[in-house]
Amino acid sequence: MRISIENFTKSFGDTTVIEDMSLEIGDGEMLALLGPSGCGKSTTLFAICGIHRMNAGRLLFGDADVTEVSSQKRNVGVVFQNYALYPHMNVYENIAFPLKVRKESRAEVDRKVQEIADLVHIGELLQRRPVQLSGGQQQRVALARALIRKPDILLLDEPLANLDAKLRLEMRSEIRRIQLATGITAVLVTHDQVEAMSMCDRIAIMDKGRIVQLSTPKDMYENPSSAFVAGFLGNPPIAFLEGTVADGGFRLANSRVTLPVPSGIELPGDGAPIRFGVRPEFFQPGNPLKVSGKVSFVEIQGREELYDVTLENGAVLRSIQAQSAGFRLGEDVSWGIAQDKVLAFGPDGNRL
């Protein structure tokens, strides 16, 4: 089911959380709402499921206007951050609750619960109480309960935030598998860029109640529209170099080093402050555009090694290199930047 949000505005008291937001989510698509806390992503989610009333704007599921339709009638499944399982019911009763509310027959309920329990791999846990389940199992129950009515839309509010690292990895692919298996339109709210990139077809990155950029994970990583987006995606994060425009090149702040500007970038006039963003994988010993500095931080991660290099003007560049590169803390190095991969940002933070 296609979701269209048109000119959505939401305020709580005097605080406007979201102003004039429009977003279209395609049928069967999984979209991530990504952003720092307080950016309005959960508010958007709760507006889609009907818990929050919209102050202005329209919400359409397919061609139907559901702006004024109550939560109960929207046919949306929601997985909450803390799962919100009903503690006094066992797993079977939890999953069956949406069907019991609709007064479906016993046999029908039995069949559907069994079917959905098999899909999310909790078939043998049906008689347990929520307290007797691990976090990952509770998550699966919550998913099953959200999916059992065959909702048109599945909403996931930080579904992995309460899981430990290993389970998070597992549930990430599980949720995606289930979403693909059911072909349901899904919206995932998260502040973790890895989750957003690995699980979703498209990402809407939000900041201060606005959608800053809406694109596929790959495109957003390679072509961020602003320094904010570039800084949000990627782990280890992108490093920024401050500087100014000088003689058609990029003069590093507090330094006489001038770097050439990649072709295709429209520079503002001389003296304008701009920033270069360099991702760690594009700052390597082998690249031609050399800058010199001292290794100021080393982190061995097993498969990869992570280095911070402090340049002569105090700026820090990050580099991620294959195992056994073997540089030591304090070592003077002269590594290169992949010139065509440099991202340049203007004084307002927007991409040049």
Partner: protein, 276 residues
């Protein structure tokens, strides 16, 4: 408690000595109801059921049978409990969750009423009951007792509802349940320990209530056990203290039974199903 650096027997000894008078009192209370003691002696020497004769003998003229009085007391306590609990769970939920006007005013009012010394109201209540014709009826006492206990109940239930996570209700609405179904099937079970505790509390409070029945329904068919008990020593020229004790034990029995039954419910608090 068997840790080597903490010996428990001195503590038990001190507690034992302190509670000894209480234990002796209870033992004597019971023993005296089934025995006779020669005057001047402390040790009872004859077994008798004579003091329990009020259970099977016809009451003297002008007195009411103990069974009528017991039935009255049960009606009084159970009705008070039912009305109080049903009003408290609905009002408590409304004050905890619903976005209703004058909420702060209501909350303040409830707190004030809760702290209000009810005995100061008794004369006006007496007058009102007499005016509307509920004086010396069980219904009148039930209504007054319920009204006076309500602020406490509402406040307690509001506290329990406050602790139920919002997400459970949101999930229920999302699952297609109506607001009432959510409250009845999802929220109420979460506060069940609170409901049980409140019910037991109100029941016991009504069971042991003395002043209200004494003032508002003092005589005849509306008597309850507490007033019956007090009439027993006030009326008689020669008070029968052992029978007074027997009625006292009889009066206390349901309280003990209620404690034994609901002990588990009071202790058994749900572990939440949300993991945070």
């Amino acid at each position: 408690m068997t840790s080597s650096n903490f010996r428990s027997w001195p503590l038990f000894l001190v507690l034992g000595v302190i509670s000894m008078p209480l234990v002796i009192m209870y033992v004597y209370l019971f023993v005296d109801t089934v025995t006779d003691t020669t005057a001047g002696s402390l040790i009872p020497d004859r077994f008798t059921l004579h003091h329990w004769r009020f259970l099977w003998e016809e009451p003297e003229t002008g007195r009411v049978s103990i069974w009528t009085v017991t039935l009255n007391t049960f009606i009084f306590a159970i009705c008070t409990t039912l009305i109080n609990v049903s009003a408290s769970v609905t009002a408590g939920y409304a004050l905890s969750r619903l976005n209703m006007p004058f909420k702060r005013f209501f909350l303040g009012g409830i707190l004030t009423l809760h702290a209000f010394p009810t005995i100061t109201l008794i004369i006006s209540i007496f007058l009102i009951l007499q005016m509307i014709g509920l004086y010396n009826t069980l219904i009148g006492v039930i209504l007054v007792k319920t009204a006076l206990e309500l602020p406490f109940g509402i406040w307690i239930m509001k506290g329990f509802f406050d602790n139920v996570p919002w997400e459970i209700e949101m999930a229920g609405l999302q699952d297609g349940a109506s607001r009432f179904t959510v409250w009845w099937k999802l929220v109420l079970p979460q506060v069940q320990p609170g409901v049980a505790a409140l019910a037991v509390f109100v029941f016991l409070s009504a069971w042991s209530e003395f002043i209200l029945p004494q003032v508002l329904a003092p005589s005849g068919s509306a008597q309850v056990l507490s007033t019956y008990l007090s009439n027993l020593i006030f009326d008689d020229i020669k008070p029968d203290f052992n029978m007074f004790k027997s009625v006292g034990v009889f009066y206390a029995l349901p309280v003990i039974v209620v404690y034994l039954i609901f002990n588990k419910q009071l202790m058994n608090i749900y572990g939440g199903g949300t993991k945070g």
